[in-house]
Amino acid sequence: MNAPGTAEASEAIARARAGDSEAWGDLYREYAPAIFRFCRRALATREDAEDATTEVFMKVRDKLHQYDSTRPFTSWLYKVAANHCWDLLRRRRIRQDKETEDLETLPLEHPDANQLEQLIEKRTSEEVRKALDALPTRARMALVLRYYSDMSYDEIADALGVRRAFVGVVLLRARHELRQALEGSGALAAGGAG
C-alpha cells in the first residue's frame, strides 16, 4: 500500500462497528489525512476535497457494517472515496464520456526511452502535480487510483466504469497526456522512436 498511515486497525474497526465513538475517532484520525489527499488529487479544488473527505467519512460510517473485515480496510476505504469522487465529478458533468470512445484508438508505439528518461529526470514532483491538475478527469482519476491508492485493475475498472481490459489503456493514455502536459508538446506521447 502506497498511501500513508494505512496500518490496519482491525480492533478499532470492530469497536467502531459496535458503536464505540472513541474508536471511530481513532479511525478518523488515522485515515482522514490520506483520504483528504486522495480527494485533493482527484478533485479540482482544495475546498472540494475538504467537503468530499467529510462526505466520504459520512458514507464510511453508514456503510461500516458492509465492510468485509477479511480484506484490507484501506482498500475498502479508497474504494468508497473513489466512488464518491467519481460520482461527484459525474454529477457536476465534468466527466467526459467521449473519452471512452478513444480507448480503442490508442496507438501502439514505442516512445523514445531516452527522451522519457530525460523528462522524468528534469521534472520535479511539484511539476508533476501541476501537470496532473491539468489532465482530463478520467486520466487524472485513473492515475490517482493506481499510483496513489494502489488499487488493482479490477478495482479501477469498477470505480471508473470501464471494462477491465481497458484499464491499462486508460492508464497508458493518462501517462501520455501527463507527458504532454509536462513537456508542453506531443513529442513523447506520440512516440519518437521508430
Binding site: 478518523y28 467529510t54 490508442l106 526511452a113 514532483s125 481490459a165 491499462g168 501517462r175
Partner: protein, 558 residues
C-alpha cells in the same frame, strides 16, 4: 490481462515491445507465459529494457508526487478531534457551570433573603421543603450547601482537566480517576466533621464530660448528661438528653426525652418524643406521640407528623402540624397551620399569629385562650369530602395516565427510532439522571439568559417550550424503560407502545400510593422526569452531533 494490444513494434535490428505491453508487464498484469516472453526480451533488447526502466521511474515519480504532502491539512479536518473534544468539554462545563450557578443564584437571590426576612420577623420558616432541604441536621445549614457548590466546582474543574488531557488516559483509567475524585470529594465533609462514634448496650455521656465535635451514638439506652459541642446523631431504644448539645440532634428511637438543652435543631423519627427542656432552633418530628412539656421551649418553628401532639410549653416561631389530634395549652409566638382530625386549644394557650385548621371536626377553643389574631380559620373536611377528593384525585390520575399513554403512543408511532433510542438511552441510569438533573436545571436558565442577551426572545421561548416537552416526554421514556425491564427489549413499534403503556400504568399506580406520604410523590416525579429528560437529552445530543453540517463525521450512535 485478457486482450490489450500486445503487438510488437518493428525496431531497427529487431522487433521491440510496444509500450502497452511493457507497462502491463511492469504492473504484473500479463499472464505468466507472456510475462516470461517479455522478461526474456528485455534481457536481450537494450531499448526495451531502457523503456521498462523509464516507465518504472515514471511510476515512482507519479507515486512520489502524489504522496508528497506539499500543503498542510485543512484546519477543520486536522483539528476535528480536538475541536470536537473542546466542544464537548465546553458543553459539559457550561452545563455544570450553569447548574451550579443556578442552584447558588436560586439560593442567594430568593431563598436566603426570604429566610432572613422570615427570621427577622420572628418566623421560623415552617415550609416543609425549606425545613427538609435548607435547614437543620440534614444539610447543616447553607454553610454546607456552599461547600457542596464548592465541591461541585472542584469536580467540574477536575473533570474538565481530565477531559482536556484525556488523550493521555485510557478510558478505564479516566473513569477510575473520576470515581476516585468524586469519592474523595464526598469524603471531605466527613473528614472535616470528625465524627466520634460510640456503640454499646448502654451509652452515657457523664455530666462532667465534654465532647468536642460531632457524635454518633448507637445503643439500647443512651443518656447524655454532659456536654456535646457539636451535633449528635443518636439511634437506640431510649434516649435521654439531660445535658447540653450545642448543635443539632438527629435521632431515631423508641423514646426520646429532652430535659436538657439543645442549641440547634431536633430531627426525630421516633415513637415518642418528649421535650421538657429547651431547643434553641427548630423541631421536626415524625412520631406517634410528641409532647412539649410545660417547661419546655422551642426557639423557632415546629413541624410535626404525629398521631398525638401536646403543646404545653413555649414555641418561639410558627407551627405546622399534620397530626391526628393536637392539644395546645402552651404558647406560640407565631402562626399555627394544622391539618388533622381534632384541634383543642385550652384556656391557658396563647397564640400571637393566625391559626388555620383543616379537619373533620370544628376546633375546640376554651374560653380564656389568648388568640391575638382572632378566631381560628376552620375548613371542614368530612370523610365524605375526603372520599370525594380521593375519587376526584384517582379520576384525575387515571385521565392523566391515559393522556400520557396516548401521547406516548403518538410519539412512538411518529418517531419509532428516536423513541427506541430514548428507551435504550434511559437504561444508562447514571448518565440519564445526572444529565437530566443538570440539563433540567440549566436549560431554563440558559433560555432565560438567551431572552435577555443576543439572540432574543423567540429562541428563549423555544428553549422553554423544548424544556417543557422534554419534561413531559421524560415520563413517557421512563414508562417505556419500566416496560422494557419487565417485558424485555423489542424493536417492534407496537411492542414499544405496549411496554410504555405498561410502564405508565405502573407509574399511575405508584404515584397515588406515594401521594399518601408527604414529599414522596414530588420526589418520585422529580426522579422520573429527570431520568427521562436526561435520556432524551443524551439521544438529542448524539443526533445533533452526527448531523452532516459538522465538518467531519462525529461518533457513531451508541
Amino acid at each position: 490481462m485478457s486482450s490489450p494490444p500486445q503487438t510488437n513494434v518493428q525496431g531497427k535490428n529487431m522487433q521491440h515491445l510496444d509500450e502497452m505491453t511493457i507497462l502491463l508487464y511492469l504492473e504484473r498484469q500479463l499472464d505468466r507465459a507472456r510475462a516470461a516472453e517479455v522478461s526474456a526480451h528485455t534481457q536481450e533488447c537494450g531499448t526495451c529494457r531502457t523503456l521498462l526502466r523509464a516507465l518504472e521511474r515514471e511510476s515512482r515519480l507519479l507515486t512520489r508526487a502524489m504522496l508528497e504532502e506539499e500543503e498542510p491539512l485543512p484546519a477543520r479536518i486536522a483539528s476535528f478531534q480536538q475541536s470536537a473534544r473542546r466542544t464537548l468539554q465546553w458543553i459539559w462545563m457550561l452545563t455544570f457551570g450553569l447548574a451550579a450557578t443556578g442552584v447558588y443564584a436560586l439560593y442567594t437571590s430568593y431563598i436566603e433573603p426570604v429566610q432572613s426576612h422570615l427570621q427577622d420577623a420572628g418566623f421560623g420558616g415552617t415550609n416543609l421543603l425549606g425545613l427538609l432541604i435548607f435547614q437543620g441536621a440534614f444539610w447543616k445549614g447553607w454553610q454546607s450547601m456552599i461547600s457542596l457548590v464548592e465541591i461541585l466546582a472542584l469536580i467540574v474543574i477536575g473533570g474538565s482537566a481530565l477531559l482536556l488531557f484525556r488523550r493521555w488516559f485510557r478510558r478505564g483509567m479516566l473513569a477510575a480517576l473520576l470515581v476516585t475524585g468524586m469519592c474523595g470529594a464526598m469524603m471531605m465533609p466527613s473528614n472535616a466533621a470528625a465524627i466520634e462514634t460510640r456503640k454499646g448496650e448502654s451509652i452515657e455521656i457523664a455530666k462532667s464530660e465534654t465532647v468536642k465535635g460531632d457524635l454518633l451514638l448507637t445503643g439500647n439506652r443512651i443518656v447524655i448528661d454532659g456536654t456535646v459541642d457539636g451535633d449528635v446523631y443518636a439511634f437506640g431504644q431510649d434516649i435521654e438528653v439531660n445535658g447540653h448539645i450545642t448543635g443539632d440532634l438527629l435521632t431515631g428511637a423508641q423514646t426520646v426525652r429532652v430535659p436538657g438543652i439543645i442549641d440547634g435543631n431536633i430531627r426525630a423519627f421516633v415513637n415518642t418524643l418528649i421535650i421538657p427542656g429547651s431547643v434553641g432552633r427548630n423541631v421536626m418530628t415524625w412520631s406517634q406521640t410528641f409532647n412539649l412539656d410545660s417547661g419546655g421551649t422551642i426557639g423557632r418553628s415546629v413541624l410535626t407528623f404525629c398521631q398525638t401532639f401536646g403543646l404545653e410549653g413555649k414555641v418561639g416561631g410558627d407551627v405546622t402540624l399534620f397530626d391526628q389530634t393536637t392539644r395546645i395549652t402552651g404558647s406560640v409566638n407565631g402562626s399555627i397551620d394544622a391539618r388533622g382530625e381534632m384541634l383543642t386549644v385550652k384556656k391557658t394557650a396563647a397564640v400571637t399569629g393566625p391559626i388555620k385548621f383543616e379537619g373533620e371536626t370544628e376546633p375546640r377553643v376554651e374560653d380564656g385562650a389568648k388568640l391575638q389574631a382572632g378566631a381560628i380559620n376552620f375548613t371542614k373536611h368530612s370523610s365524605k369530602d375526603r372520599n370525594e377528593n380521593l375519587r376526584s384525585y384517582y379520576l384525575h390520575r387515571l385521565l392523566w395516565t391515559s393522556s400520557f399513554i396516548l401521547y406516548g403512543l403518538v410519539m412512538i408511532w411518529l418517531m419509532p427510532k428516536f423513541a427506541g433510542d430514548c428507551f435504550k438511552s434511559a437504561e444508562n441510569a447514571g448518565a440519564s439522571v445526572g444529565i437530566g438533573v443538570l440539563a433540567g436545571i440549566s436549560l431554563p436558565f440558559a433560555a432565560g439568559l438567551v431572552c435577555f442577551t443576543f439572540v432574543g426572545l423567540p429562541l428563549g421561548i423555544l428553549g422553554v417550550l423544548l424544556w417543557l416537552v422534554m419534561i413531559f416526554s421524560g415520563q413517557i421514556v421512563f414508562g417505556g424503560l419500566i416496560g422494557r425491564w419487565i417485558l424485555g427489549r423489542t424493536e417492534d413499534v407496537w411492542g414499544r407502545v405496549g411496554r410504555m403503556a405498561l410502564g405508565m400504568g405502573i407509574i399511575g399506580v405508584v404515584v397515588p400510593i406515594l401521594h399518601q406520604i408527604p414529599v414522596a410523590e414530588f420526589l418520585f416525579k422529580l426522579v422520573v422526569m429527570a431520568w427521562g429528560f436526561g435520556a432524551i437529552a443524551l439521544v438529542l445530543y448524539k443526533r445533533i452531533a452526527r448531523t452532516p453540517s459538522v465538518p467531519v463525521p462525529p461518533p457513531l450512535a451508541a
